[in-house]
Symmetry: C2
Subunit: 229 residues, 2 copies
């Protein structure tokens, strides 16, 4: 790997911050990594639940990168419809050796035309929407197809990032990071996917997501002319 | 549970951001939770790997809270020696119904006298240091003793927070959050604890941590007069 290996996290308002901060913690520890956190306007940015980030770089100020990483979140729909944001993601993504996303960030990569014909993952509730962009929805926790790393929702970003480190810097480095971060998770209820959750839990979460899902679906239909949606 | 249930994250410079952002993502989703992110001076704060947060509240502006949550990180040693920071943690912690920490944040709770006689966890590399503060080091991923929730390093904050939600708001709510965040982790190498890692991985990480460990140990000896250290 050539160093520095420049990774750009492309953020937007109402991003789900753990989609980003999980993989950031992993990737920033990769020796030789230069991690840039950026948004359309740079400066400050507020995430979904209110937590704000400071000192972001402007995406348009970044000439090129080795990897662009796009997190998901409720703001993903507006971001996908924001032509300034999408122009920068498309520009950086086309010249990068790798594109990556956690959760519904993959829908942004898809909308940028960066996942055509590729297997890709997303949050379980929105995964099938990837097909509208010519991607092949894959239910794996981490999906690696050519230069594209995607996967499941929110917390999957940590697994995706560890697999990226293993691929780029080697398994030895990824193992050290896994141990540094004491990544030996014990989900208390083992219900992190709908297949393993009780029907009442799935129904409650689907209800909470209903508005987002409708909004996402209709935005994607507008973008793609409903051809595949 | 009385609402709002006020949770204060007490941050300090060079905090490990995932120690905080993991549990933040979980706890901010607990219905009725009011989450305040705070530091001694408020405003902006830079974390260990460079990521900066904005719009923090001043700890001294918070009259009281239901839970104080302290993350860990390399800045933990300086924070523990910072009398202004420690005065606020002690004040809020004494009046809170719950105190919580991820990773070496428990050493700050310990230094504030909030873990005396309690079982408590910390990052695997620093757990034994808790004994200097009269706590009983416990190797569990999540350690719950009375009003104190602590546990393992960095990523353990997610598990700790889900157990807090289950305890305070009920298992049903915690299950929904686990599913929302698609928390079905797949650590690629299964080496997140020294017991399950290869000796070479453990040795490399211990070497990387050596300076922090020496600094922590000597700071704790200064604070406690070496009585238990």
């Amino acid at each position: 790997m050539a160093t520095p290996f420049r990774i750009v996290f492309a953020l937007y308002p109402r991003v789900t911050q753990l989609d980003f901060t999980g993989p950031y913690e992993v990737l920033a520890r990769m020796p030789g990594a230069e991690v840039i956190v950026a948004s359309t306007d740079g400066g400050e940015l507020a995430s979904e639940m209110g937590l704000s980030f400071a000192r972001l770089t402007r995406l348009s100020d970044i000439a090129a990168c080795d990897m662009i990483f796009v997190p998901g979140g409720p703001g993903q729909t507006d971001a996908m419809l924001d032509t300034r944001f999408m122009a920068e993601v498309t520009r950086l993504g086309r010249s990068a050796r790798y594109v990556a996303a956690a959760c519904t960030g993959s829908l942004i990569l898809g909308a940028a035309g960066l996942l055509k014909g590729k297997r890709a993952g997303s949050h379980w509730a929105y995964r099938e929407l990837l097909a509208a962009f010519g991607a092949v929805p894959d239910s794996a926790r981490v999906v690696h197809d050519g230069g594209a790393f995607t996967g499941g929702g929110v917390t999957a970003g940590i697994d995706i990032a560890l697999r990226i480190v293993a691929d780029i810097a080697g398994a030895g480095t990824a193992k050290e990071i896994e141990l540094m971060l004491e990544y030996a998770p014990e989900p208390p209820f083992g219900c992190g996917r709908p297949e393993s959750a009780e029907p009442a839990t799935v129904a409650a979460v689907r209800e909470r997501f209903a508005a987002f899902a409708a909004e996402r679906r209709s935005a994607i239909e507008r973008l793609t002319g409903g051809a595949n949606a």
